[in-house]
Symmetry: D2
Amino acid sequence: MRYRLGCELDYEVEADDTPFVFNIEAQRRPGQEIETERLVLSPELPLERFDMPESGNRYFRLCAGRGKLTLRYEASVTLRPAAIDPAEVREVPAGRLPLEALTHLYPSRYVEADLLRQFAEKEFGGLPRGHERVTAICNWLHDHLDYVPGSSDEQTSARDTLLQRQGICRDFAHLGIAFCRALGIPARFVSAYAWRLSPPDFHAVLEAWLEGPEGGSWFLFDPTRKSAADGLVRIGVGRDAAEVAFCSPFGPTGYGKPKVWIEAPDRPAEGPLTTRAVSLVSR
Amino acid sequence: MRYRLGCELDYEVEADDTPFVFNIEAQRRPGQEIETERLVLSPELPLERFDMPESGNRYFRLCAGRGKLTLRYEASVTLRPAAIDPAEVREVPAGRLPLEALTHLYPSRYVEADLLRQFAEKEFGGLPRGHERVTAICNWLHDHLDYVPGSSDEQTSARDTLLQRQGICRDFAHLGIAFCRALGIPARFVSAYAWRLSPPDFHAVLEAWLEGPEGGSWFLFDPTRKSAADGLVRIGVGRDAAEVAFCSPFGPTGYGKPKVWIEAPDRPAEGPLTTRAVSLVSR
Amino acid sequence: MRYRLGCELDYEVEADDTPFVFNIEAQRRPGQEIETERLVLSPELPLERFDMPESGNRYFRLCAGRGKLTLRYEASVTLRPAAIDPAEVREVPAGRLPLEALTHLYPSRYVEADLLRQFAEKEFGGLPRGHERVTAICNWLHDHLDYVPGSSDEQTSARDTLLQRQGICRDFAHLGIAFCRALGIPARFVSAYAWRLSPPDFHAVLEAWLEGPEGGSWFLFDPTRKSAADGLVRIGVGRDAAEVAFCSPFGPTGYGKPKVWIEAPDRPAEGPLTTRAVSLVSR
Amino acid sequence: MRYRLGCELDYEVEADDTPFVFNIEAQRRPGQEIETERLVLSPELPLERFDMPESGNRYFRLCAGRGKLTLRYEASVTLRPAAIDPAEVREVPAGRLPLEALTHLYPSRYVEADLLRQFAEKEFGGLPRGHERVTAICNWLHDHLDYVPGSSDEQTSARDTLLQRQGICRDFAHLGIAFCRALGIPARFVSAYAWRLSPPDFHAVLEAWLEGPEGGSWFLFDPTRKSAADGLVRIGVGRDAAEVAFCSPFGPTGYGKPKVWIEAPDRPAEGPLTTRAVSLVSR
C-alpha cells in the first residue's frame, strides 16, 4: 500500500549559529520502501547526515542563523507489512534471543522496567505467551489509561503514567514497553507517520521482538488504538522517547505546532479502525 | 471481650544519655478500656509522659545510659466494639465532615493521596459508597499485593507499594489510606496489638471515618486479613507510620526483635479468621 | 507594630452545594493580637468554625451555591515580636524537647526529611548549632535556589526542589524545614500576610523550635528574603503546605487571582529589607 | 604498559537450561591491545558470541544446566594511553559533535540528566570549559559523596545518589555522567579492571567526549579516586550500568563473590595514586 506523507516545521531561532538535529525522515527498511522524498529548507542550509546503523534512524544536523527556519519534508512510501496469524507468533526465550535484541530488555530513562517487574508479573505473568500476551498488555493500557492531551510532560515516565492513569501516545508506548521488558520481551519505542490518526500529528507506538513462522521480527502495536498498525510509517526507533525526538535544538528557539500529514490514495479512510493490535513483520 | 497483651523490648544503648520516645501503651478510649497495666524498666529510669490530645496516643520519654535497656509492658484491656451492619455505614460528604477529621484527607509522607487520585478514581470511583467501598479497597489490596516480609523498608511509601505490588502490614495500610483519602474519605494509620496475628508482632491497620446510624466514627479495617478487626487493641493513631513508631531512639542503639503477645482467655483462637473487614465503632 | 491587612477572593462555583474550607484569618497568639477584624461574604452564607487546638489555625467552612462567591477579610493586627540576640538562641536536644514539638521532626508529604538526612548532615552537620545554624540553612537556600514563579506545582516536594534548584516561597520553606528536621530541629510551615512582600500575595515561611534565654519558642525564618520576619502576620501553621491551604473547594470551581494586602501605617516601607533571617519569639 | 588481569566467577544454577549473558572480556580498541587471553568454563559449554559494533562490548551467552558453573577469564593486555596536557583538551559544541556521540547526551535509566539540568548549570555552568570542567565535576563528587559499600542497590539512580550523598563506584559514575550530559558533554559508563583498586573488584568509571589537539576522543575519569585512569582496562561501555552488567542470568541462580585481579608486572604498585582525574585518549 502506498502512502503520501510529510511534515512542515517552523522555528524562530533566537541566537546565531544554533545547531538543530532532526529525525523526521521515513526509515528505509524491508517492508517500508521510499519511492520519492524531498526535503526543503528555508533558508537553504548545508546538512550533515547520519544514519544510525543499529536503528536505521536517519538524523540530520544543520546550523541555523537567527530568524525564521522552516522545513518541509514530503515522501511517497510503500508499506508491505507481513500479515501473520497472531496465533503463530511466539515469544522468544532468553537463550535464543538475538544478542543485539538484548539491549531492548534493559530499563531506560522513561521505561523503568526493573521497578515494574512485580506489577507486570502479577498482571500478565500467568497469561498465554506470544503475540497474544503483548496484545493483552495493549488492551490493559487501553482499558486502564485515559488518553488526555496535556496530561504529561517531557519528564513523565512509565512509572508516573501507571500512577496517573492517563497520558498521550508517548506515555502509552512507554508503559507498554516497560511491561514487555519486565516480562522478558524485548521492546522498543517507535515514532511514526500514522495513517488515520486524528488529529494528525507525529505518533508513538511500540515494537516487540517476537517470532513468526519465518523467524524473529519486530512486531508493531498501538495501545492507544488511534491508528492502524499496518498503516504506520516508521521514522525513528529507540529505547524510549529520549532517543527519537523529531527535533533537538541546541539553543533558545520558538516554534509553532508541527503540521503532519499522511494519506493513502488507494485505501479507503473509512470504516472502523482496527481496534486490536495487529502484527507487522519488518525484519 | 477481655485481652491480655504486652511486649518486651531490648536495647543495647551505645552512648551516654540517649533519649528514647516510646509509644507502646494501649490507648484509653471509649470501647477500649484498660483494666490493669504495668510498665517495668530495667534499669529503672524516670519517665516523662505526654498524651497527645488530638490522637490519644500515649508517649513517654526516658534518657538511658550506655548498656542494656529493657522494657516490659503488660496490660489487661476490654474491647467493646460496636457491631454495626455494614450496609448502614455511609460515607460522609465534605460539607458534613467534622472539621477535625479534615486533616486526615491531606496527603502525608507515606501516603501520597494527591498522586493517586486518578488511580483511585478509576478503580473505585464508580463503586457504591460507604463501608462497602472501603471494604472493596481492602479486598483490592488483598488481591493485588503480596504480603512479603522484608520486601519494603522505612522509606517505602504508598506510591512505591502500588508499583512493587508487595509489602508488609504497614504498606498495605498506607496504600489503603491513600486510596481512601484520594476518594474524599478521611483515613488514618493505626498501630495495634492484634489478636491471632501470626507470628505475633506489632500490627498496622487503618481507620476510615464513616457514619453509622448513631453518628460518625473511625471504623477499623485490616487489608492484610491477618487479624480480626474486633480483636485489635489500638496503640497509636496518626497520619501514617511516621507518627506512631513504637520506639524512636535519638542515638546509636542496637536492638533485638521485640516480643509481642496478646491473648483472649475467653475467646476461642480457632476457626476461620474473619476474612472481610468488619466495623468497629470507637467514637 | 500595627498592621492593616486583608484579602479578597473570588470564585465561580460550578455545582450546587459546593463545600469550601478556608484558612485566611490571622491567628490569635501571644505577640500577635487582633484588634479588629471583619469577614464579608457575598452572597451571605452561614459559616461553621473550627479552631484547631494544636495549631491555633482558624478554619471555617461554608456551602456555596452555583454562581459567584466573594469573600473579603480585613483585620487590624498588632505584632509584638520578641527581639532576641541570635547568639543567645540555642537548639534543644531531643531529651529536652517538649513532647508536642516532636511531631515536627517527622517527615511529611512535601518534606521528606528522612531522605535528606545525609545531605543535611554533610552540608550543615558541622556548623555551630543554634539560631545560627538555621540561618545558615536559610542562607544556603537563598544562594542555591532561584526564586522562579511558575517553576513548581502542587506536587513539588523538598526533594524535587533540591534537584530542580528553583521554586517559590512554598518550596523554599519546604526544603528549609526538611533540612531542619533532618538535623533534629523541629520545624513547621507557616502561611502569612507578609509586610513589604512584592508583589503582594499570601506568603510561606518556616518556624523552627529553638530556645532563647526565656525558654523555647517557634522562631520565624524567611529563606526567600522577600519579607521582614518581624512583619509577618501568621495565618496557618502545619507540617507542610498540605495543611494550610487558604482555600479547599470540594467541587469544580473557577477562581481569580487573590488580592492580598498588608500595610504598616506607622512603619516606613522603605530602606533595605532585612536580608538575614531574624528571630521572633511567639510562645 | 602491560597488565595481567582476570576474574573467576562461581554460580549455583538452580534450574535446567538457564541462559547466562556475560560481559567480562577486555575490549579490543586502539590503545588497549589484548596479547593473550583464555576463558575456561566448568563444565565445558558451547558459547555464542556477540561483539556490539557501536560499543565494542564483547558479550557471550551460554546455557547452563542445574548445578555448579564456574568461569575463569585471564588476559594479558597492553595499554597505550595518550597522555595529553589537560589544558589542551576542550569541550565540543553541539554543532561539531560527531552525530554518533549525541546518543550519549540523552538521559538514561540511572542517569536522569534532564532532571538535573538546573543543578548542573548552577554548580558547574560558570566554570571554564574543557577537561578542567569534567575534572571539577569529579572533584565535586569526591568532596560531596561518601564512598560507602552497601549504601545503594541496583535501582539507585543519579538522582537518588545526589540526595543520599553516598554510594559506590557505580553511583559516582552515574552522577558524574548525569552532570556531564546536563551540560552538553556526551558521557558514558565504563566497567573496567582497575589497577590498584583496593579491594580488587570490577570497577566503574566514566568517559566524556572531549577534543584534544589531534581530535575528539573518549576521556576517562574516576571520580572515586580509587584507581589510576591510566591503569584501567575497559570491559564494557554503555549508557549506564543497565547496559554493562558483567553477568545476566535468566533464571534462579546463587552466586559467590567474584574474584577479580589485575597486576602490572612492570609498574610499581606503590606511591600515591593519581588523585586527580587524568586523560586517556582512546579513539
